[in-house]
């Protein structure tokens, strides 16, 4: 025992001699993780490469991971008449900003209420929200209700309201609120502060990482949303970016199908590289920002997995 202790003091555990099978394990371990990482990257590489390849080269050779013949023609076309894309960006930025702010406010207030152990209806309220994850009205009745009774057809609220509140985010936020010592709230109460004041001047300033985490999840959801736009929006000027991207994909796919059927040379339409360039323009912001905010997402996923 003493000897063991001494050994431990002398050498860090990692320096323990590896057996041959352990070495083999590490080779496989690094190899597989590297392989999976590469597989995760390949579609992005394809996207980037295809978007800067000359259209003629693509229609002759197909897509490749390294541009066969470099050309910025597709980006040129996009930025020559950028109104459509700028507008779609505007819509996406608007719904993301508005939805995230409102969602954060709602989530924080509700999380504060259900984390208050002296609030009689906290369990009842939590269950009220949680129940929606177990049971829902389904696509048909939701669609009919939103259109016929809430009049959300072609209404920007159809892009904002459905993603604003989520039980998963509520439970994560509650965990953050629970980390604020209750004695702090109690003593503020004794000093005569009302609930609103306690929430906004004492609790919220202590929730910075919680707000960042939930805010980022909400923002990601809004930025990537195309589903609600597809169901509810009919005016093209109100399309958010992802749905604009989708409708362009559909148009060019239909176009190239018709062209192929009619025997027209597909290469006359710069559709292939254009599609990919559009996807790059729509995805770029996320890929660039993501590495810097990754830790908040990891924190959120980790907390969310510990069931509430």
């Amino acid at each position: 025992m003493a000897k063991n202790d001494k050994d431990m003091m002398e050498s860090a555990p990692r320096k323990i001699k590896l057996s041959a099978s352990s070495k083999a394990f590490y080779v496989i371990c690094y190899g597989i993780v590297l392989l999976v990482a590469v597989v995760c990257l390949i579609p992005f590489l394809l996207l980037l490469s295809g978007s800067v390849t000359a259209e003629q080269w693509i229609s002759f050779h197909g897509f490749s991971l390294i541009p066969g013949e470099f050309s910025l023609e597709a980006y040129g076309i996009i930025f020559k008449t950028p109104e459509r894309i700028i507008r779609a960006y505007g819509v996406s930025i608007f719904i993301t900003a508005a939805g995230t702010l409102l969602g954060l406010l709602l989530t924080t207030m509700t999380a504060y209420v259900i984390s208050r152990k002296d609030f009689k209806y906290r369990n009842w309220l939590s269950f009220f929200f949680y129940f929606t994850t177990l049971f829902n009205g389904g696509m048909v009745s939701t669609y009919i209700f939103y259109i016929q009774y809430l009049h959300l057809k072609d209404n920007m609220l159809a892009l904002i309201l459905p993603g604003m509140f989520n039980v998963f985010y509520l439970l994560i936020m509650r965990t953050f609120v629970n980390n604020v010592p209750f004695s702090l709230i109690e003593s503020a109460k004794l000093d005569g502060a009302g609930e609103w004041r306690i929430l906004f001047t004492i609790v919220i300033p202590l929730l910075k990482s919680g707000l960042a985490t939930i805010g980022l999840f909400l923002a990601l959801g809004y930025w990537n949303d195309w589903y609600n736009a597809m169901l509810y929006m009919s005016t093209e000027t109100k399309y958010p970016l992802q749905y604009m991207l989708y409708s362009i994909q559909q148009q060019t796919q239909a176009l190239s199908r018709i062209a192929a059927q009619a025997g027209i040379q597909v290469q006359n339409l710069p559709s292939n590289s254009l599609k990919l360039a559009m996807a790059v323009v729509a995805t770029g912001p996320i890929v660039i920002v993501y590495p810097f905010v990754q830790k908040y997402f990891i924190a959120g996923i980790t907390i969310g997995s510990v069931k509430g």
Binding site: N4, I144, N224, Y227
Partner: protein
């Protein structure tokens, strides 16, 4: 007595009630009200009469759904896809989580983890673009590689049997990083000292994984499986819709309840059958999760979801 309690509480905590009110109203209107629309499954819906004014027609809608064979087909597809996706994506996530926690090279670990999580952030629309760029007949990456080596091009969009694999692969691609974050958290929760002690006592890496890492993952794994089982009749609409698109030849092999419902909702003015499909989906899902949770609770309370 009870009512009095409510009003007392309301008076005492007016501010708390006010704080919870916006979310309460939002969820009530956006989630609870539409639940009443499930009644459409038993009705012949007419737009001018609305949800509640439309006449009842008994179980006719269900009759149409299952006698046409569609009901069985989409149910089978939904369940099989969910099982396949559950097994592949969780297995891959567990393996990646174990490997990543065993990796000690700091930068390698950080960079690979970042890259593996990246697909989670990409919208399904863009994934749809990926799929089309890889598999389409004229210009797809695979066909261009086949062509380079002088092979015969393959039209994947005419091969229904290829799509379960493609869908499963992209599901794993999208979710492995996310799920592995959850498992990594479970592993590192106990990791440190126990692992070091075991290593000093001469445990091999395989013994450590077998007796320390895997047991630490187990509760998380059970929770993840339970959550997925509770959704076994729900297809991931965004994924199926973007990957498969409107390629009719593939529907038999790829149609799940959600894509079927969506297509009929858009194209078919008679929504009775569609409403029946969603009713059947919502109610069965609820029943399954309640039953599974009750059983799990009986076996081991700690593993129950609620």
């Amino acid at each position: 007595m009870k009512k009095e309690g409510f009003f007392d509480e309301f008076k005492k905590n007016k501010a708390l009630f006010a704080m919870a009110a916006p979310a309460f109203i939002l969820v009530l209107v956006m989630s609870y009200f539409p639940m009443s629309g499930l009644i459409l499954a038993f009705k012949e819906y007419r737009y001018n009469l609305g949800v509640f004014g439309s006449p009842f027609n008994g179980l006719q809608n269900f009759g149409y759904l299952f006698s046409s064979g569609t009901g069985w087909l989409i149910t089978r597809n939904t369940i099989l896809y969910n099982l396949l996706n559950l097994i592949t994506s969780q297995l891959l996530a567990v393996i990646i989580a174990i490997f990543i926690t065993e990796i000690h090279a700091k930068y390698f670990k950080k960079v690979t983890q970042t890259v593996i999580l990246l697909p989670y952030f990409i919208s399904w629309v863009v994934v749809g673009v990926f799929v089309f760029s890889i598999f389409n007949y004229e210009t797809g990456l695979i066909n261009s590689v086949i062509q380079t080596f002088g092979g015969e091009k393959v039209n994947f969009y005419m091969m229904p049997m290829a799509w379960p694999i493609i869908i499963c692969a992209f599901n794993a691609w999208k979710w492995t990083g996310y799920n592995s974050v959850i498992y990594i958290a479970a592993v590192t929760g106990v990791d440190g000292e126990i692992n070091e002690a075991a290593a000093i006592d001469g445990a091999t890496i395989f013994q450590r994984i077998r007796y320390i890492t895997l047991p630490s993952i187990r509760p998380t794994l059970v929770t993840m499986i339970l959550l997925q089982v509770g959704r076994i009749l729900r297809g991931d609409f965004e994924m199926f819709y973007q990957i498969v698109g409107n390629n009719g030849q593939l529907f038999n092999a790829t149609d799940v309840i959600d894509t079927y419902v969506f297509r009929s909702l858009i194209t078919n003015p008679d929504i009775g059958m569609t409403a029946a499909a969603t009713f059947y989906q919502s109610v069965l899902c609820f029943a399954i999760i309640m039953i599974v949770n009750t059983i799990v609770k009986k076996i081991d309370e700690d593993y129950a979801l609620f």
